[in-house]
């Protein structure tokens, strides 16, 4: 595996191919913590190996008898056999995962897909633009960049969610806010009845915070719900970001994770293999992309 995770290549193919590509390994749930009314944090532990993922990759998590679902990996590069995910309880598989107690197990296949090209971003400013649970996959790159902080210049994180009850990683966010080598800004679409003193407005209202960044020296990384991309990219264009400096992680329904089943096809690309991380420059001509 590539040590400093520079490439957007998938590099685990041979490891995964030792067995049937569809046979999961067993991982134990080691930690579980509620984050919002419907999102929980999970730490899983593989038996024999570190997951060995690159920031931005995903894995297929399954509960035998219920099914399998592609889930983003939220932790930074593996230091031991554990890895972290934040999972929203919305479907049958995620519902079953939420019902697990520590000590119980899941099936894991992966890691799959492309990663954030952290090596190519060295020496540049980083601008993370995240919406809702988009913070979950972005966090794998945020943690990586924090660990290699000296490799990057300015480090901006913009985070928006629907309302204050849907904020994720709130403890970590408090720490990020305190750091003087990271600029963290957040907003909520609606304040509702929550006590909230912060910004109110959609994620694009935070873009002016990044105005001081020279677009030619900055890479923007966007992860959020499908509706967000078009508007954030318009905002970045207003700030004169070149398309080569915009990186997106896209979501599609996936089943196999290995470019066979056809579900995640987006024009001629398979998001599970050619993505989920793309340079916007490479997909802007694809008609089904954004």
């Amino acid at each position: 595996m590539c040590e400093n995770c520079g490439c957007t290549e998938t590099n685990q193919k041979d490891d995964v191919q030792k067995n049937s590509i569809y046979l999961p390994e067993v991982a134990k749930l080691t930690q579980k913590k509620k984050m919002t009314p419907f999102d929980s944090f999970f730490e899983f532990q593989l038996k024999d190996r570190p997951l060995g993922h690159l920031p931005g990759q995903f894995a297929e998590i399954s509960i035998p008898g219920i099914g399998e679902a592609p889930i983003s990996i939220s932790s930074g590069p593996s230091k031991d056999n554990t890895f972290e995910m934040v999972i929203r309880n919305v479907g049958s598989v995620t519902n079953a995962i939420h019902a697990l107690e520590p000590g119980e197990s899941v099936g894991v296949r992966g890691p799959f897909g492309t990663s954030f090209p952290m090596n190519n971003l060295k020496g540049k400013n980083l601008l993370f633009i995240t919406g809702g649970i988009g913070l979950v996959p972005a966090r794998s790159a945020i943690l990586y960049a924090m660990e290699h902080r000296k490799d990057y210049k300015e480090f901006f994180i913009l985070f928006g969610c629907k309302d204050p009850s849907q904020r994720l990683f709130t403890d970590e966010i408090e720490n990020w806010k305190k750091r003087d080598d990271i600029a963290f800004h957040e907003t909520v679409d609606r304040k509702e009845n929550f006590p909230w003193e912060g910004n109110v407005g959609v994620i694009t209202t935070l873009l002016p915070k990044a105005e001081k960044l020279d677009p030619k020296e900055t890479y923007a990384i966007i992860v959020g719900p499908p509706v967000m991309y078009k508007f954030v990219i318009m905002g970045l264009h207003d700030l004169e970001f070149p398309d080569e400096h915009i990186i997106v992680s896209l979501e599609r329904r996936m089943k196999c994770g290995v470019g066979k089943c056809g579900h995640c096809q987006m024009d001629s690309k398979y998001v599970c293999q050619d993505g989920p991380v793309f340079y916007y420059h490479d997909i802007k001509h694809l008609k089904e992309a954004i």
């Binding site: 193919k13 049937s20 067993v26 089943k255 066979k260 579900h263 987006m266």
Partner: protein, 341 residues
């Protein structure tokens, strides 16, 4: 390898099946049940359907079954044990497969063998030998010659038989697998056939469009929403086209559990279904039937050729024959090919 020609006498057909049976091979051949002709296990040449243009369903399931086990699991106390599929596929001969369907096997192979190796498919693939049967007649739904095939195409077959007027067959031995099978059936294939004008025996299928130009033409009409809406207006999203298609490879993964044990299954799926791309959040990147119809044609005529350098459609015409609302893929393709938009 160089093609070798031989003659298979009509009276050798019976012994051919007997010997293959005796050698422990499963034989799949077109059989007629009611109005339907399907590839099913047979033991004798007498069971084969005679005189038909195209089987109702393709022989695709021989390498890619409609439903198959991917793995099994069982729970003991709190532990769940996962097991890869253990049974090895039986050596199988598909007899009487049409040249279009044999070409479709190649298209399927490209999907399942590129990048990650799909062991479920490839285990079956290794055990299969295709004895093709050239077409001596065709109907208005056939368009193999527009997508690189022809009624006597050898692509994909290990042995290709072409019926002769006297009831015998011209046999072309095309691959090592074919050679091995012929060698194992000592003496059933007789010398001869080198002077036969094969072309004159085949059905005439006039090319209607050029598949090589289709990618550019498809890409050019991608944003023509009116076209896709008009073409798909009748589509009820039933997926019949995908289920009879010999080259459709998309699948779903579903678990079934009975008490403490069960299986993970792979099942055919269709891009024509609204659920195919539906996210759990409710967002659907292809939320209209027009988008889904467009995906079907784009996949076969633009994306597939781009990725695998093979057409994703072999012109068998089954989708048009099976469509309950009478959508005709050839008619729709011609609109695009002839730019009658």
């Amino acid at each position: 390898m160089a093609t070798e020609r031989k003659i298979l006498k009509k009276e050798s057909l019976g012994p051919l099946f007997e010997k293959m049976n005796a050698a422990g091979k499963r034989i799949l051949a077109p059989r007629k049940t009611g109005e339907q002709i399907r590839f099913e296990p047979v033991t004798s040449a007498n069971e084969i359907a005679a005189d038909f243009v195209q089987s109702t369903a393709s022989a695709k399931w021989a390498v890619f079954p409609a439903v198959e086990e991917m793995l099994s699991f069982r729970s003991l106390d709190k532990e769940t044990k996962l097991e890869a599929k253990q049974s090895k596929p039986q050596p199988t001969v598909v007899f009487g497969i049409r040249p279009c369907d044999a070409a479709a096997f190649k298209a399927l192979h490209a999907v399942f063998a590129t990048d990650y190796k799909d062991d479920l498919f490839l285990d079956r693939w290794e055990q299969i030998t295709l004895i093709g049967m050239s077409c001596t007649k065709a109907d208005d739904y056939c368009f193999c010659t527009s997508v690189g095939g022809n009624p006597g195409s050898t692509v994909g077959s290990d042995i290709l038989l072409t019926p002769l007027a006297n009831g015998d067959f011209l046999a072309e031995i095309l691959t090592e697998k074919g050679q091995q099978l012929v060698a194992s059936l000592d003496g059933l294939f007789a010398a001869g056939g080198s002077d036969i004008d094969k072309e004159s025996l085949l059905a005439k299928v006039t090319p209607k469009f050029d598949a090589k130009q289709m990618k550019a033409k498809m890409d050019a009409v991608f944003n023509n929403e009116k076209l896709w809406t008009r073409q798909s207006l009748r589509c009820i999203g039933c997926g019949a086209c995908a289920f009879v298609c010999p080259s459709c490879s998309c699948f779903d993964i579903q678990d079934e559990r009975y008490g403490g044990k069960g299986q993970r299954l792979r099942c055919w799926d269709s891009c024509g279904f609204g659920l195919f791309t539906l996210h759990t959040s409710g967002h659907n990147p292809r939320h209209t039937q027009a988008q889904r119809w467009r995906q079907r044609l784009m996949h076969k005529f633009s994306y597939g050729p781009e990725k695998y350098e093979l057409p994703g459609c072999v012109g068998c015409g089954r989708c048009s024959r099976a469509c309950p609302t009478d959508m005709n893929i050839l008619g729709h393709l011609l609109e695009i090919a002839e730019e009658k938009l």
